[in-house]
Structure formats: C-alpha cells, structure tokens
Symmetry: C2
Subunit: 543 residues, 2 copies
C-alpha cells in the first residue's frame, strides 16, 4: 500500500467519518490534500520541449508540449533498452483468457476512457506534443475549439429551441447527428471543422487541424462498409467513436445538455439562445466533475469512506496551480487490460476487435440498454499479462512513446511519489510469472521502465489499480479536476445564481453518479442499478 494512504489516512479517517460513511468536510479535505501532496506541486520545471534536461522559457510556458514530473533520462548506448516487442509481450493476455476484475463493471473503463480522452490528448503527429486544453471542459461533447463548438450547436432560430446541441431522434432515442453519408461525404459541411476520428491504425495519421477524412476502405483488415461508418457520430472528440461505450457516454451527456437547456429555457424566459447554451455548459461541466470524484474516484479508492467533490478544498490549497498534462499522465492512463476479449451484448457477444468505430451495437439496444449491458459485465483486471490481442499493438506504441519522451525509469517514479525503490522483482509483483518475465526483460529492478513497471505491480487491495498508478492518478485527478474555473471561489461561492441559476446549482448538487443522470433522463423504476462497481462487491478491509 502507498505510504500516503496507509499511514496518513486509513487509521486517522476512521475516527472522523460520519454515520453514512461520507467523510466530514475536514476529513474530506485531509484525504484529498494528503493524496495530492504525495509529490511536488505544479508548475513542473521540465517539459518535453526539445527534451531539455534544464528548465527553459518555452518549456515553462508552451502547453502544446507536455509537462513532466521528472526530467528526461537518456538511455545508455552501452546498455540499450530491450526490444519494445519483447516488453509488449509482458502485457499479452494468455490465449486461455485473462483474469477478471472482482470489483469493476465495464462502466468503469467506459467512463475512464471518455473522461481522459477529454484532456489526455497526445498529438497524433508528434508524441512530444498535445492538443489538450488541460481542463475538464467536456470537449468530447462540445469540441476542443470555439469553431467546433459552433459547428455542434443548433443554430438559434426565432421561436426555435434555445441553447441546444444538434441531435437526431431515432425512434424515441436522441443521438448526436451522424458524421458520414453513405458515399463517405460529411452529412453537414459545418462538420468540416471537427477533429478527424481516430483511424490511426488504418490510414496516414492526420493533423488535428485537418478536416475529417473520408472513411478508410478497410478497418482491422476487413472492408469498412458504409453500413458501419454511417453509424459514426458527429461529435466534439476524435475518440468518441472509438467504441460503442465511448459513443454511449457522449450520448448520455448530449441528452443531459439538451435536457438542461430545455429546463433552463422554460424556467428563464428572458434568456436568449447564447445564455441558455452557456448556462447549460456551466452546469454540465461541474456535474461531470462531481461524478468524476464521487462515482469514479470513489470506485478507485480502497477506502470505505466516500470522498466528496467539495470545491472549497482547493481554494487555498498550495497545489492550486495551472493545469498541465504530463508525459507520464499521458501514458499511465492506457488501461487497455481492462477490456475483455469480447463484449457481452444483446444478440450475442461482440469480439473486442469489432467493438470499435461502429455504433450499430449502441443504436440496436439504445442508451439505457447499452449502459445496462456495460454495468452488468465485469471488466478484466488491470495489470500485466492481461491485454487482449486486439489492443496489444497499442501497448507497443505506448512503450515507444515513453522512450521518445525519455521517461525516467520506474524506480525513479516510485521515489518521486513517496515509495521506496524496488530492489527485487518480488517488490514489484507477487506473481512468480510476472517476476520471471520482468527478470527476462530487465536484468535488475533499476532497469525496469516506467510504463511496464506501472502495470506489473499488484493491485492495491480493494482498488482496481496498482499502487504507484493509483497514487499518480489521485494526484492528477484531484489537482486538475478541482481547479476547474467553474469551481473557483468567485464563481462557485460568490456567483452561483448568475453562473448556474438556482435550479442548475441544485441540479449539480443532486448529481453524484452516472445512475443519477440516467434516472433523470427517464429510466424506468425497478431497472437494475448501473454502477462501476460489481453488484455484491464489498470492502475486505474496514476501519
């Protein structure tokens, strides 16, 4: 267990929690501060600019480069790093099948991917750079730029609905508009400003500023038929169409935006289209952040007390510093091992390799059906030897990306985040097989690279994540989510009515889980609950 957690929190917090196992305000603040303070705060002195090992103005000011927790570490030419293919093999799931998680449903990776695709945005043409806004701004829904937002908004019309995002009704179900006509052209010339969908494995990588290209002829070695590509959505994020799960998350938030906009329009006759739109977005972003902390982070943490998304925690925190995605954060969130080899679906299981760039599975069962399916099947366990063959090539790319950015070795990150360096392989993993594989790749624990080391570790008891990964996720989750300007003191505390309306502020307060959003959208009573945690799971450790 990480030092910060076991020593500071578990014992101490048990004394101060309230009856319903929500933490008191002070305990909540302590828990969040302790998590973030496991390492130094921003601004980071180093970045990927020129890969310089000395701080410099461009690296300290240009956020199109990635910040870094540790300075670059250059390989020793006399002792080269192992072949990336050999390292990638450490991640391969055995043909006999992977290990299932005992805690998480597929709603967990669905949310994690949708969340992180919004701000972990490695530039596809240059892995030293990024296209991130460095904020939780719901850009998968709204677009990354004002021009993209305009293309996704329903134009204001006299007497028409106000502040809405473009959408289509298919039966009773509201979805984003489709992106492609059957001939491969765009359904709406306005969509020319959207980011190209990520077809990275199928055709030359496009620059982020290129318009969406026509769909490629093949996908995963099979013809990419019009029936498939016409199911892709016109959305803000280039990765929203990457699986029916991410398309499902975006559909949930599209509906929530339009529901909130409709309510705002009815409750505020004086609001024009612009104000309805802006106020709806003002409400959607904090709703999402509340779910990040109170649904997602609480699923991740191994403590049996619920952390609250209390904006006041950060107002005087010394870690309230401008967000800046790091090279390490861009890699540690590659949670491909979570995905099963096949996804259970109405009408039969879908092989993982077919569960991409094809929203027909979502359209067939509808939003509620898809979320229910995600929430009723277990993920695989996150860790080594558990990545599906369909995603294994991405592990190889991740290993190469870490080397391109000259990341420091795994042990250096253990030290930077308050852990002792590993001096033996059994201090990394309790699995003899993983220890043997690590030994076969690296001579000593000091040679283990950052990316494989992160995933080779055992899971923290009662958490779906390994130890160092969990610590690093907690630091960046709290220190970059709660610094959102909509949660800042002079917005959240001083001007809630003006920013959200009283109704909207209350609606944010009433949002704590994805289930809350789905129920508000009209989920029938008595439906099975949709949660990131498997039904029946419980903490093995209690205070």
């Amino acid at each position: 267990m990480p030092n910060w957690f076991e020593r500071e929190l578990f014992a101490g917090l048990a004394k101060v929690v309230e009856d319903d196992s929500w933490l008191s305000d002070e305990a909540n603040k302590l828990a969040i501060n302790t998590a973030v303070n496991s390492t130094r705060n921003r601004p980071h002195p180093w970045s990927t600019f020129a890969d310089a090992d000395y701080p410099n103005w461009r690296g300290l000011s240009d956020r199109t480069f990635l910040a870094r927790h540790l300075p670059p570490s250059y390989p020793d030419p006399a002792n080269p790093l192992p072949d990336p293919a050999k390292v990638a093999a450490l991640f391969a799931r055995p043909a006999a099948g992977g290990t299932k998680s005992n805690k998480s449903t597929c709603l967990f990776p669905a949310f994690a991917q949708y969340l992180t695709d919004g701000f972990i945005r490695t530039n596809p043409t240059n892995p030293r750079k990024n296209t991130s806004n460095h904020e939780i701004d719901m850009c998968p829904l709204y677009g990354r730029t004002p021009k993209q937002t305009d293309a996704l908004r329903l134009p204001a019309a006299a007497g028409g609905p106000k502040g809405r995002l473009k959408s289509q009704m298919i039966g009773d179900e509201e979805y984003p508009p489709f992106l492609y006509n059957p001939d491969g052209s765009l359904t709406d010339p306005a969509f020319n400003v959207l980011d190209p969908p990520l077809f990275a494995f199928n055709q030359p990588i496009k620059k982020p500023t290129d318009p969406p290209p026509p769909p490629p002829a093949t996908m995963g070695g099979k013809p990419f038929a019009p029936a498939r590509y016409t199911s892709l959505f016109a959305v803000g994020g280039d990765r929203v169409n990457s699986s029916p799960f991410t398309a499902m998350m975006n559909t949930l938030w599209l509906r929530e935006h339009n529901r909130v906009a409709k309510e705002l329009e009815q409750r505020n006759p004086g609001f024009d289209d612009e104000r309805v739109f802006q106020t709806a977005r003002n409400i959607i972003i904090p709703m999402f952040i509340k779910i990040v902390v109170e649904d997602y982070i609480n699923h991740i943490t191994p403590i049996p007390f619920k952390i609250k998304a209390d904006p006041s925690v950060v107002w005087d925190a010394t870690w309230n510093r401008p967000n800046w995605m790091t090279a390490e954060f861009s890699l540690l969130y590659r949670w491909h091992a979570l995905m099963p080899d096949q996804i259970e679906w109405t009408g039969g299981a879908i092989p993982l390799g077919d569960f991409t760039l094809d929203n027909r599975a979502l359209l067939a069962v509808g939003l509620d059906g898809a979320i229910t399916l995600a929430a009723s099947q277990a993920t695989n366990q996150l860790g080594a030897m558990n990545t599906s063959a369909a995603l294994l090539p991405i592990e190889g790319l991740s290993i190469s990306q870490a080397r391109t950015n000259n990341l420091a070795p795994y042990n250096a990150y253990r030290v930077a985040f308050g852990m002792a360096p590993a001096t033996a392989f059994d201090q990394i993993s309790s699995s003899q097989e993983i220890q043997d594989k690590l030994r076969g790749i690296y001579d000593t624990p000091d040679r283990v690279e950052f990316y494989p080391g992160l995933f080779a570790e055992d899971r923290v008891p009662d958490s779906p994540l390994p130890q160092l990964l969990m610590t690093m996720v907690a630091v960046d989750a709290f220190s970059q989510a709660l610094t959102n300007p909509l949660l800042s003191q002079h917005v959240w505390k001083d001007n809630p009515t003006l920013t959200f309306t009283d109704w909207g502020f209350n609606e944010i307060g009433n949002t704590s889980s994805l289930s809350d959003v789905l129920i508000r959208q009209g989920r029938p009573g008595g439906s099975p609950p949709v949660t990131m945690t498997l039904p029946g799971w419980s903490y093995t450790r209690t205070p």
Copy 2:
C-alpha cells in the same frame, strides 16, 4: 491614503525594518500580501467575451479575451454618458504648460512603457481582445511567438558565437538590426514574422498576424522620410519603436542578453547554441523582474522601506493563480500625462510629437547618453489636466475603449479595492479646478467613469501615482510578476544551477536597478547616476 497602506503597513513596518531600510523577509512578505489582498484573487469570474454579465466557459478559459475585475455595467439609455471629447478635455494640459513631477525622472515612464508593452497588449483590431502572453516574458526583446524568437536569434554557426540575438555595431555601440531598407522593404526576409510596428494613427490598423507593412508615406502630418524610418529597429515588440526611450530600453536588454550569452558560452564550453540562448533568457527575465520590484515599484511606493523581489513570498500565497490581464489593467496604465511637451536632448529639445517612430535621437547620443538624458530631466506629474496635446487623442481612445468594454463606474472600483465611494467631488480631487471640470462633465460622483476618475485623483504623498491607481498597480504588479514560472519553487529553489548556472543565479542576485545593468555594460566610473527618482528627492513622511 489607501486603507491597506496606512492602516496595515506604515506604522507596523516601522518596527521591523532592518538598518539599511530593506524590509525583513517577514515584513516584506506582509507588505506584498497586504497590497495584493486589497481585492479578491484570480481567477476572475468575468471577461470581455460577449460582454456577458454571467460567468461562462469561454470567458473563463479563453485568454485572448480580457478578464475583468468587475462585471460589465451597461449605460442607461435615458441618461447617456457625456461626449468622449468633453471627457478627454479633462486631460488637456494647459497651453501655459503642465505640472512637473517632484519625484520622477523620464527614466520612470521609459521603463513603465517598456514593461507594460510586454503584457498589456490590446488587440489593435478588437479592444475586447488581446495578444498578450500574460507573463513578463520579455517579448518586446524576444518576440511574442516562437517563430518571432527564431527570427530575432542569430543562427547557430560552427565556431560562431552561441545563443546571441541578432544585432549590429554602429561605431562602438551595439543596437538591434534595422527593420527597413530605404525603399521600405524589410532588411531581412526573416523579419516578415515580426509584429507590425504600431503605426496606428497613420494607416489602417494591421492584424497582429500581418507582416510588417511598408512604412506609411506620412507620420503626424509630415512626410515619413527614409532617413527616419530606416532608423527603426527589428525587435520583438510592436511598440519598441514608438519612442527613442522604448527603443533605448530594448537596446539595453539586447546588450545584456548578448553579454550574458557571451559569459555563459565562455564559462560553459559544453553548452550548445540552444542551451546558451535558453539559459541567457532564463537569466534575463528574472533580472528584469527584480528591477520591476526593486527599482520601479520602490519608486512608486510611498513607503520609505525597500520592497524585495523575494520569489518565496508567492509559493504558498492564495493569490498565486494563473495570470490574466484585465480590461481595467489595460487602461489604468495609460500614463501619457507623464510625458513633457518636449524632451530635452543633446543638440536641442525635441517636441514630443516628433519623439516617436524615429530612433535617430538615440543613435546620435548612444545608449548611455540616452539613458543619462532620460534620468536627468523630470517627467510631468500624472493626473488630470496634464496630457500633452500630442497625446491627447489617445486619451479619447482610452475613454471609448472603456465604454466598448462597458467598465463599471469609478466608484464601483473604489469599493472593490477597499476604498469608500466618493460622495462629493472634493473626495476625488483637492483641486477646485478639477472638481469643477468633473462637475461639468458628470452630475454626481456616482456618474464618474473609471478612466477619468482614476486620473482625476490627487497623487498619494511621496508617490507619483494617485490612490486607486496605485492600489490597482500594486495588486497586478506583485500578483503577476512574482508568479513567473522561472521564480517558481521547483525552478528557483530546487534547480537554480540547472536553470541559470551558478554564475547566472548570482548575476540575477546582483541586479536591483537599471543602473546595475548599465554599469555592468561598462559605464564609466564617475558618471552621474541613472535613477527613476530625481536627485535630491526625499520622503516627506518617515516612520
């Protein structure tokens, strides 16, 4: 006197100062914190985006708009604001001559303009927007963008000097290269990426992304001759050529960069061109910030104790938040009244209207000569009824800009910065003439606009600035200068050798005034001192 100053500081600090009248570290921290905490911290909830009076995502995230201390305030159509020309007349200096400052030399406005031109950068085509990097990054010297920096750098050549900025020698004097050939073409095609010099009164306003246009045919109603425009420099800032004083400041820092680069090259044979350049810039920026606080701010403050630029003050401050220039800050720094009607110069006084876009005066006397001239003549006093006719049109533009951005009235800003609202005109100015003029323009003190109100006030005793203006300058000076990433904890405290080299760190420590820089560049001993404060001036109030 502002409340924050008189109540909190003057009496208290007297007890804790050290012998040499530098403040102790704790007293220094108290002084800076008290100044900044006179108003709320960033992030500001409002911006000039869409002039919305409600916070919204674009306004909270897009720094090409200006932040605002107070929300927009819309004029009452039933009670329109007075004609801008009538308001501008309040600023007009009497034909008989203006009032001279008893504290400041012309080195004060020369530095103030060069400083603020680096970050107060209203977009010339849209006064709601800006082209600022929101940092003290010495962009007048280095350019606003990486491409501009590249155009200004001397390309690396085998065996050639490392890390230098392009320059030319004229006799023994080093200057930036000239921008224009006699035929109006650029001297170097690389300069095509530089911002166009600000010829705003003479030809259509250019977008910041347009290349430098050919010089206009006339300037101020006179032919703009090749002999004049060929004296303009190729520099990072579009306002550097606006007067020989700003061109002089840029020349000082060009020489300092190249001096520091030469020293670094000699002391660090292993450094390549890139590292010499980046390290020199790493040193120049904090040197400049030290002068901002220890020379410039100390000239402004009325306290007889020297404030120190101690980076540690900000590391745990709740006002350490991302910089963001405000609509108010963009206006309050229009200190045109400081400029005399004519500038005393070797060979005869130069009318102010001719002291622009013409560097021949600087070239004639050299850098030391020009700084000495600036430091040996008094400015005019900052305030109403003291702007030279040559600059009066700009006052009209400032009044209009404040209205375009719907700034709140003067009294609202008094309240926001801890002062009581003015209920009678004699609470704004002790001058009967200014009171009468204000009464003639505005019926009541509540109707007084921000911009004229700021300048109508009396100067604070022992300060060159009026009261509200001084408070607002102090807030933004400290809270945006000391947050510079080169002064951040993990750069300044944890990695000084890597960032600056030990020699460079020491060189920063040895820099406290413009005079220090000039002497390092070889100023002859026994020369008269160059200071922003007039010789013989002394505080009227002592502890």
